[in-house]
């Protein structure tokens, strides 16, 4: 069995643009208090892989890291 795709976020780098929440709402959310990214799942299902890759590419602050299987 191959390893799953893993997502990590860097809240210090995040500027709260919300792009990731628009692109992959199942995986990312924003904190009510400071608007910074909150990870909903670090090992999303395969159906989310494309959305997660797109979110990482479009993150303006380079705050999303994706480790490919």
């Amino acid at each position: 069995m191959s390893a799953p795709l893993r997502v990590a976020v860097d809240r210090d780098a995040c500027c709260g643009s919300g792009n990731c929440v628009r692109t992959a709402p199942e995986v990312f959310d924003q904190d009510d208090a400071d608007g910074l990214v909150v990870l909903r799942q670090a090992e999303p299902p395969e159906s989310e892989y494309d959305a997660v890759r797109e979110a990482a590419y479009n993150c303006p602050a380079a705050a999303i890291e994706v480790t490919e299987p």
Partner: protein
């Protein structure tokens, strides 16, 4: 360091002649030098990949008081050069602090709660335009009032004062305004907001300015001067941008009747349409200015500390590697990587609001005005000669 000025470099900014952004021929890698009206020279970057690198890099500053910062218009000698509270001109760590105070106010889930208010504002404006008879100027009756009313509501600025602040923000953004007039317009906006903040401090409302005054100024996290600077930025950025987008978007949709027909038939295409309009129009056409704070590199070009750079969003949004046939408007494109809102830590904080306004305004407009048409020849439409691209007027019938 290239202190020696290159000769024969194109003069920047390039002007707003029409829907096609004007670009000098820069050769294959899309990097060049430009001459600014202030006598300085700056680097010009136009490729999508280069802008990603540049705008994400901590080697560049947005602070226009730093030496070498590329100023795209002359500043009067006696103008106070302070970025106080104006988020867009700050660097970390101050930028980070201010941005985090504001982000929750503009994030998607908060903007969603505002949608009924946006829709009501849109519907009232459309119906009163319709009642006023045709032809009518869509900018005056729809594109400008809707975002102005919404940002006024959010900030707690009385909409009744719109002539006062719209007039001043117009002066601020027009290329043709003499520097002294720009300075006066800024000072008048600051005075206006200083008075408003004092009033909200004594009698708070349910609005953002009241909240910031009570929760941030009273606690010493922000000075009153900084709140003034921040409010000026929000008031200007909050209505000028979206209003120009609504006017231009209407023009583009009317010039593409087949795509407009598809959108009317399949309303769910509105989200993709808005993204493509943002890409195609890129209203912050002048691009973003930064200064290098250390010796660095972008796309293999060495940039010395103190040199200015311009990131030309309008060019990156037509980069053929990312957007094939980018000069065409195509609502099926799925333009997810566009940079109309910028890139990097300053990427537009108001984007969820702008998207909601555009989606609701354009959907309601094309549904309620099924016969919408231009009342002038497309070639007679006049564009604004301003920092933010837009149409001056848009006479329509329905």
């Amino acid at each position: 360091m290239s202190d020696t000025l290159a000769t024969n470099v194109p003069t920047y900014p390039f002007g707003n002649a029409g829907l096609e952004p004007l670009l000098p021929d820069l050769g294959a890698d899309g990097v060049g030098r430009v001459q600014l009206p202030t006598g300085q020279q700056a680097w010009l970057f136009t490729r999508h990949e280069h802008l990603r690198e540049l705008l994400r890099s901590a080697d560049f500053s947005s602070d226009f008081t730093r030496p070498g910062f590329p100023l795209i218009r002359p500043i009067p000698e006696d103008m106070p050069r302070r970025p106080d509270g104006s988020l867009i001109r700050m660097d970390p760590p101050e930028h980070t602090k201010f941005r985090r105070m504001l982000t929750p106010e503009f994030m998607i889930k908060h903007i969603r709660t505002l949608e009924p208010l946006i829709r009501q504002t849109v519907v009232v404006a459309l119906e009163s335009m319709r009642a006023g008879g045709q032809p009518a100027d869509l900018v005056e009756h729809f594109a400008l009032p809707v975002p102005s009313m919404v940002i006024c509501h959010l900030l707690g600025v009385p909409y009744a004062d719109h002539d006062y602040f719209q007039e001043r923000s117009r002066i601020l953004l027009a290329w043709s305004s003499p520097p002294e007039q720009v300075r006066d317009a800024i000072e008048e906006m600051r005075d206006y907001l200083t008075r408003l903040i004092a009033a909200r401090r004594d009698e708070p409302g349910e609005d953002l300015i009241s909240r910031l005054a009570a929760e941030r100024v009273a606690t010493g996290e922000m000075t009153e001067e900084e709140l003034v600077g921040l409010s000026v930025l929000l008031l200007i950025a909050g209505h000028e941008t979206t209003s120009n987008m609504i006017g231009l978007s209407t023009l583009v949709l009317l010039k593409h009747p087949e795509q407009l027909r598809q959108l009317r038939e399949r309303p769910e295409l509105i989200d993709d349409t808005v993204e493509e309009l943002l890409r195609y129009l890129t209203i912050v056409r002048t691009g973003l200015t930064r200064v290098a704070v250390t010796d660095t590199e972008v796309g293999g070009h060495r940039i010395a500390a103190g040199e200015g750079v311009i990131a030309l969003l309008s060019a990156a949004n037509r980069d053929a590697d990312v957007f094939p046939d980018g000069e065409e408007f195509d609502l099926h494109r799925g333009s997810h990587q566009h940079m109309a809102f910028g890139f990097g830590i300053h990427q537009c904080i108001g984007q969820p609001l702008a998207r909601a306004e555009l989606r609701i305004a354009l959907s309601e407009m094309i549904t309620r005005l099924p016969g919408l048409a231009l009342a002038v020849a497309p070639d007679d439409v006049r564009y604004r000669d301003a920092v933010v691209f837009g149409v001056q007027r848009l006479p329509v019938t329905w």
